[in-house]
Symmetry: C2
Subunit: 192 residues, 2 copies
């Protein structure tokens, strides 16, 4: 349950501890984004300029560290989904969100790993509505379907799969043009 840096109950962290925590987070965000779950804790520690013990103290587990980062990212995506749902036509909202997810996932390997189900427990994250990406997708999808913009026979997990396919990391160095083509294909496929 790794929480914020400035905890209120339980007397505040020492200044150097807060600094180190922030350095670890920053390094981990950068490295996870670049290479996904494959980065080692040693690399993160080195990159942050701290010892491995310091990483483990702030985040008891590699998974906890990864989790903290992914949760923040997911929270952001959920917010954007809600904003789009509020500000756009149902169909546009859905397709813009789709493009957004693909862009984010295609740029951030760690997020892509998480979306693919590696090392991030979606079920548990869904406890809190602000981290329930599937609920956000369901919401934006069902509106788009009700408006007739999206075929009725797909569900949220299909959308997740479509996103995953568009990301298609791993091979032939994820290029932005290919990603956009995939979004086009997926959008045409999902339309009524």
């Amino acid at each position: 349950m790794g929480e914020e840096s400035g905890r209120s109950t339980e007397r505040p962290m020492r200044a150097d501890a807060q600094r180190n925590r922030a350095k670890v987070l920053e390094a981990a965000i950068e490295l996870f984004a670049a290479r996904g779950l494959a980065v080692s804790v040693h690399e993160i520690a080195d990159h942050a300029g701290v010892g491995t013990g310091t990483v483990s103290r702030h985040f008891p587990t590699k998974e906890a560290l990864f989790d903290a980062i992914v949760r923040a990212r997911v929270e952001q995506l959920v917010r954007q989904a809600r904003r789009l749902a509020a500000e756009r036509e149902p169909g546009d909202a859905f397709f813009e969100f789709l493009a957004l997810m693909v862009e984010e996932g295609g740029t951030d390997r760690g997020l892509a790993d998480a979306l693919a189900g590696a090392g991030f427990d979606v079920e548990r994250a869904a406890t809190d509505p602000d981290h329930d990406l599937d609920a956000a997708i369901r919401e934006i999808l069902s509106r788009a379907q009700a408006s007739g913009a999206v075929r009725g026979d797909v569900d949220a997990t299909d959308v997740r799969s479509v996103i995953e396919g568009c990301i298609a990391r791993e091979r032939h160095g994820q290029d932005a043009a290919a990603r956009r083509r995939m979004v086009t294909i997926a959008s045409q496929g999902l339309r009524s």
Copy 2:
């Protein structure tokens, strides 16, 4: 360069060696199909009823074993692609092949891992035309495009990504109905 069981030059293998090689292959095929690259060499050895040394002797590396199995599977897929290309209308051939690939990949986790680029070197396999899945896809795709059945702005790697998306293994226990829905979406997306 793991080759066939009945080698002609270099005097034949001893009978027990051939038997064990076959047992290892059989066990590995079954386990890789069920759980992908995640199975350990120990498990394969146990399941085959041999020691780990025997596995390593026949296939110097886990990757070599995996490779041998995937190559056979890919060879089969390439053959089917050619057959479809010969016997069907260009458009039908392409969409049937798409459905076939998704079905095979969705059923065989090892193949899915390989298609996703894990532990199988597509580049090297492409040396031999009978194992060059990308060439087969290019062929069947370009015919479908020429006939007007498939949009012209996609390439073979896009098709690979689409297939990957349809497979979308890892989470919510790969169910056949979802896979078919994905194929429908993908097909509509790829159509002109």
